[in-house]
Symmetry: C2
Subunit: 210 residues, 2 copies
């Protein structure tokens, strides 16, 4: 299988971490968001939505949406687990993952930033304030839900919440957000970045990093 | 258990449908978004994020995030299933659900619309154009993924994709979007609205509708 990815895409970063945690080999195909390749006919033929990432199976079929890809990974390759077996514990992990994947990331997506500029003339400072505003609200929601475990909700190992949290913290640093108000989040980030699966998935470690 | 809900919240509407499909009784607690009750201390004590819905268990613990609640419902009450057992079929249902829950709804959330007004002076027409823009992109992504089955990806019965799609189509009608370009979506809506589980979950059928 092939992962269509871009080094700085938070959503692709989530999937890279999960593939590494599962120990799965996956060819990477690089789609440059900065060059607009996601809107070119070649990529649109694979994923008409023009968003990253997309997982292409050996039969040519394509699965998009990073959290649908993570769900498939967990169901098809259950070891090591990224979600607990107990229904409520599992939902608690998804709750944190979804604060990031639904309440922060979509509102801060590249195409939304572009629309703010095109429709409302948002300049660089207004776009940065917009980014930071939604990250703050999301991190404020997550911080008290972290019980002080090594990883997001577990001491045993990282899970799906960590797969979403670490790329979002990377993005926060990139946009100049001071992380001091969220010590639990920062501690989880430190623990995750010590793991080879996370280090190898980091944006700067990708072949298409520039 | 209790569902903290508002009649016009798309995310609460998803959960109401799923509870009905599962045949589960659930007390409703009404939180008026239009009166700002989600930002009052009483509700913030339950869900500090101030978003709807929230599911309150009998022991007082609270689960937020509509798709985390749906995941819990599916794991704790598996019959009738809202997701297929096969990993890839399951992910295909989530793919559609996430186009709605990640790429349309968060960008069109009440608090985002408020921020567009407060930060960029977006007037009523600009807000409507914003809403319709993201709905169009999302519906364009979903329409070709619907194979012409009675429900989103199945003839047998509605699933998690339908739980997300029908509230989004309701919202689209509310914002004056002409649905003619998406006949598959419209047909699935018609089939779902014929079912008592969907009819009873509809916004106008709720006790707090005004």
């Amino acid at each position: 299988m092939k992962l269509h990815t871009y080094w700085r895409s938070s959503a692709a970063y989530r999937v890279r971490i999960a593939l590494n945690l599962k120990g799965l080999e996956c060819e990477q195909v690089f789609v440059s968001l900065i060059a607009g390749e996601q809107a070119q006919p070649g990529y649109l033929a694979l994923n008409p939505q023009g968003l990253l990432p997309a997982l292409e199976f050996d039969d040519g079929s394509v699965l998009s949406q990073s959290l649908a890809i993570l769900d498939w990974l967990e169901a098809a390759h259950p070891r090591p687990p990224l979600l607990p077996a107990d229904p409520l514990s599992r939902a608690r992990v998804l709750e944190i993952a979804h604060v990031i994947a639904m309440d922060i990331h979509p509102v801060n997506n590249l195409r939304v930033l572009g629309a703010l500029g095109a429709r409302f003339g948002a300049d660089a400072a207004a776009r940065r304030d917009w980014m930071q505003h939604w990250m703050r609200l999301g991190f404020d929601a997550i911080e008290p839900r972290l019980p002080g475990t090594r990883y997001a909700l577990s001491d045993a190992g990282p899970g799906l919440a960590d797969c979403c949290l670490i790329p979002q913290v990377y993005n926060a640093r990139r946009w100049g957000l001071d992380l001091t108000p969220w010590p639990n989040i920062s501690a989880v980030e430190g623990a995750c970045l010590d793991l080879p699966a996370f280090a190898a998935a980091a944006p700067e470690a990708q072949p298409d990093a520039s």
